[in-house]
Symmetry: C2
Subunit: 242 residues, 2 copies
């Protein structure tokens, strides 16, 4: 039975790390938000699901995944689930908790990236918070992005398997997310990333390695990969890129 993946159809957003894992696993899934309303899919189906009180567990917001009767919310939590069933993380307890700890770092990173353009409120437009956004972005690019990337770099360097991946010999779901972080930062902050990225050669190389994995390469070349745009997490606002 195919998974049902619920996320907004117009952005990569918080859901993209899940799409990447589903694609890399070769899992059978329906991207509900991108389906047709005539088939009971589309945004209307997402909103209907969220408005219904019938089901517990009740997710707060997309992304969430339906797997048979189960409803799993939050990107990192969905990856915890997929990791176990699709061999995208170590199977032993220490290993899957390590993978999930790394993914929790990615979740924190995503939140900070989002807040570069929305430091005051996501109920306001970017244009209404440009001044604090500029300040927050400066601090993000000078301090926070190098901290996160530096941590992942250290983990990559410290992997005893020396595989170029974060854990062991093979890609795990956090590797796919590092690809997404690097790709997104390059899109959102091209000037700053040209300056920052050379300090993190292993993360940079991991991006390229993941992009070349056959199923990921196929996905990225397909229409299933939504282009970056200024509605998602990674937004290219030249005023913020310095």
């Amino acid at each position: 039975m195919a998974y049902e993946f619920y996320y907004w159809p117009w952005i990569q957003g918080r859901g993209e790390v899940v799409r990447l894992a589903l694609e890399y696993a070769g899992a059978s899934y329906v991207d509900i938000g991108r389906g047709s309303e005539d088939d009971g899919q589309g945004v209307a189906a997402i909103r209907a699901f969220l408005a219904s009180d019938a089901a517990q567990p009740q997710p707060y917001a997309p992304p969430f995944l339906k797997a048979g009767d189960m409803v799993i919310s939050h990107a990192a939590n969905i990856l915890l689930f997929l990791g176990g069933w699709h061999d995208l993380a170590p199977a032993d307890e220490a290993g899957y908790l390590w993978a999930h700890g790394l993914q929790s770092m990615v979740s924190d990173f995503v939140k900070e990236i989002h807040d570069t353009h929305h430091p005051i409120s996501n109920a306001l437009y970017y244009e209404e918070q440009m001044e604090p956004a500029k300040l927050r972005s400066e601090h993000f690019l000078e301090i926070r992005a190098p901290k996160y990337l530096g941590y992942f770099e250290r983990v990559l360097a410290g992997n005893p398997a020396k595989s170029g991946y974060l854990i062991g010999e093979n890609p795990t779901y956090p590797d796919l997310s590092i690809f997404q972080m690097v790709a997104g930062l390059r899109y959102a902050f091209p000037k700053a990333m040209a300056r920052i990225e050379p300090d993190f050669p292993m993360a940079s190389r991991l991006h390229d390695t993941v992009a070349a994995l056959p199923r990921i390469a196929g996905y990225l070349a397909s229409e299933r990969r939504i282009p970056f745009n200024e509605k998602g997490i990674f937004r290219c606002y030249p005023d913020l890129d310095d």
Copy 2:
């Protein structure tokens, strides 16, 4: 063997939801940061652990938990681990993922609460970002806090067991965290919470129920519970409480 819990000794902070779970479980643990440097503990031991490249997995920052050879980072991830071993969450896959999804919401909430006083950068003092902090707090109190509390209220109301807890008949680790959220919000925003909290009677009652659980009551009355203060997540800045 006792767990070793690593977190800053002067705040409740992001670590408090873990302390609550350890206490409620009656688990044997050493709060390393609060120990004596003469015993190889204290803040020096935390910093030494973070600086060492010897061990993988390498945490990025406290809180983290050592359980035998395992090192588990991120509060929600630590709770995922403790939930399984101490019966603080359902044992079946749908159930533990549901508990972890709720805890992921708590993590998001904590981040937003932190950013009310640090909307620009955690490398700056509050006093250097008071103006955006005021704006962010207004939006937080008007929109975000009611959204989060409203979601938890809906989950409490929707629990088929009608137990007053989030999941099933008994307390699980997210219940302990809801206690912490309500207690912290009351501390940080007393004026606003007096206005907001009556809209969320089940969350309010859950706070009181958890506070009265014998092991939690014992913990709260002990010196192990660090008082709220203006270095943690929940800070009482009257300028932000409106």
